[in-house]
């Protein structure tokens, strides 16, 4: 593992826009943040805040056209991924930075068995592995799938939503990446399954020590896993800092409002506080 104080990821003034028939949509409007090895950063924001585009941009997975990288740098282990050649970029994807997505049911290839989808991830970056099947089985057990040997032969549609997400995690960890990007990993899952997947991610973080970037709209799930939180609103980072500080002493009015309007179990408040968008716009100096 690299020495821990060196920054793993440094995003500087990243700018990405979508050019559609209705004109330019500034999805990511000049954001900067950085991550240390082993750190967990939660990027929280509502729909349209640009959080997913940011995550996907790390390894240039945002389809362009219609998107275009207008500016900024993404320095990962000292090199700007925006400038990497396709060949170099492919060596980063899956080996250094890997992803899990929101809809596990559609993110897995429906006509391939679990075994071959995980094996492919291993063979892409780890030619040295002799017994790929055994390694695949180890990974499935690592992510908490019982009787992994049996499950290897299944197709994605034969597994439950929670199991499919565990397979995605196993596939992402196949080449022990330095950074795991989780784009709304539990949004499509029931609350009980969501708790299990978050528990699993926390476990893997301690066991494997890889950095995690967690993208979500749900503030509640970030509290006990994230080291830092970045709050995004319409393509900008409006708040960025250690978890406890952001949750308990939010600076920006948007963060304050967002935290207050979440209904909390047992709070017995009669009315929820709503967001006054005009006030936020003013604060953003738009």
């Amino acid at each position: 593992m690299e020495n821990t104080n060196q920054t793993l990821l440094d995003v500087r003034d990243l700018r990405i826009s979508f050019f559609t028939d209705e004109g330019e949509v500034r999805a990511v409007d000049g954001i900067s943040f950085s991550m240390k090895p082993g750190e967990t950063l939660a990027v929280v924001g509502e729909s349209g805040s640009g959080k997913s585009v940011t995550a996907m941009a790390l390894t240039r997975l945002v389809p362009s056209p219609p998107a275009r990288y207008l500016g900024g740098e993404i320095i990962f282990k000292g090199r700007d991924t925006l400038k990497l050649s396709p060949e170099e970029l492919r060596r980063v994807r899956g080996a250094q930075i890997s992803y899990i997505f929101q809809e596990p049911s559609t993110s897995l290839n429906p006509v391939f068995q679990i075994r071959s989808q995980i094996a492919e991830a291993i063979e892409l970056h780890r030619r040295d592995v002799k017994d790929v099947d055994a390694e695949a089985e180890r990974l499935l057990t690592l992510v908490g799938i019982r009787d992994a040997r049996l499950r290897m032969g299944d197709y994605p549609h034969q597994l439950s939503g929670g199991m499919q997400q565990r397979v995605m995690i196993a596939m992402a960890l196949a080449c022990n990446p330095s950074l795991l990007v989780a784009d709304e990993p539990t949004t499509a899952l029931d609350v009980t399954i969501q708790a299990q997947i978050m528990e699993l991610l926390k476990e893997l973080k301690q066991k494997l020590g890889m950095a995690i970037m967690l993208i979500t709209h749900n503030f509640s799930i970030v509290a006990d896993i994230a080291d830092n939180i970045a709050v995004m609103f319409r393509g900008k980072i409006v708040e960025y800092g250690p978890t406890q500080r952001v949750l308990h002493e939010p600076q920006h009015p948007y963060t304050k409002a967002l935290l207050e309007c979440i209904p909390r179990l047992g709070a017995h408040k009669h009315r929820l506080k709503t967001i006054n968008h005009a006030e936020i716009e003013a604060a953003l100096g738009r």
């Binding site: 749900n218 909390r264 709503t274």
Partner: protein, 262 residues
């Protein structure tokens, strides 16, 4: 006298299979459920996906035929009532839906969406009276009346839910089934819709069956909460009791799974 009474409600869907597509089994979506709702009360119905909560909502409004049991609304047994018998009752019970993009007819203007309810149930109203009523309803749910000639795709998710609520209000109902009305919305917009529903309840003395999978939202808005899993109601109690003293292991598991933010 409760506004709505459900006794031993069962809704089974046949599973077709085999060579000649005969019934080889059945899905017990709602399996012997009983509860009652008093006028002016908000009863929360919480459960994970596939627990059968939406099916109950649809069975009560007779959007599907119950397999067994009894549904009494305002004293009338509507379990197997014909469409003609149901028509007057339709005026008194309405529904707000989850999917803001699917709940409004994309090819109809807001005026005709909200107006249609009145055309069916208040035939004696002429065009101008109807337009005034629509304007008043839109204002009431926080939208500008001059947008009544616009089409659904021109509005945001939150605005569409408000239009759906205006449509439900148009027939001056007593009882509204809110089927996951805020699940598809962002948190900030969610809060505004929940407040709106509460205001409307106070002003029009409405009764709600509030269906959702988010325990915190249900607990916030409901007087009483029913917890449901695999087609059965496993626990029913006031919203404070459910949170402080959950009895059934499933409820305990549900509450434990809700992430404690801070």
């Amino acid at each position: 006298m409760p506004l709505l009474e459900v006794k031993n409600l069962k809704v089974y869907f046949p599973i077709m299979g085999g060579v000649i597509r005969h019934k080889i089994g059945e899905v017990k979506a709602v399996d012997d459920v009983s509860f009652a709702i008093e006028p002016g009360e908000t009863v929360g119905l919480v459960g994970e996906s596939g627990s059968g909560k939406t099916t109950i909502g649809r069975a009560i409004l007779r959007l599907l035929e119950p397999t067994a049991g009894e549904v009494r609304f305002d004293g009338h047994d509507i379990t197997h009532a014909s469409e003609r018998e149901l028509r007057p009752l339709r005026k008194q019970m309405q529904m707000v839906f989850q999917d803001p993009f699917g709940s409004l007819n994309p090819r109809m203007t807001i005026a005709s969406i909200v107006g249609e309810a009145m055309k069916i149930h208040f035939r004696q109203m002429d065009r101008n009276a109807r337009r005034d009523r629509i304007a008043e309803l839109l204002r009431r749910v926080g939208l500008k009346p001059e947008h009544m000639n616009r089409y659904p795709h021109e509005f945001s998710g939150g605005q569409r839910q408000r239009i759906g609520i205006a449509r439900a209000l148009a027939v001056e109902p007593k009882f509204i089934v809110c089927d996951e009305p805020v699940s598809a919305l962002d948190v900030s917009v969610q809060a505004a819709i929940i407040n709106l529903l509460q205001d409307l309840q106070e002003q029009y003395r409405l009764t709600y069956l509030f269906i959702a999978h988010d325990l915190a939202v249900v607990e916030h808005i409901s007087d009483r909460v029913l917890v449901m899993t695999q087609g059965k109601i496993v626990e029913a109690a006031s919203s404070e009791e459910i949170y402080e003293r959950p009895q059934h292991p499933y409820t305990q598991k549900l509450i434990a799974a809700v992430p404690k933010a801070f």
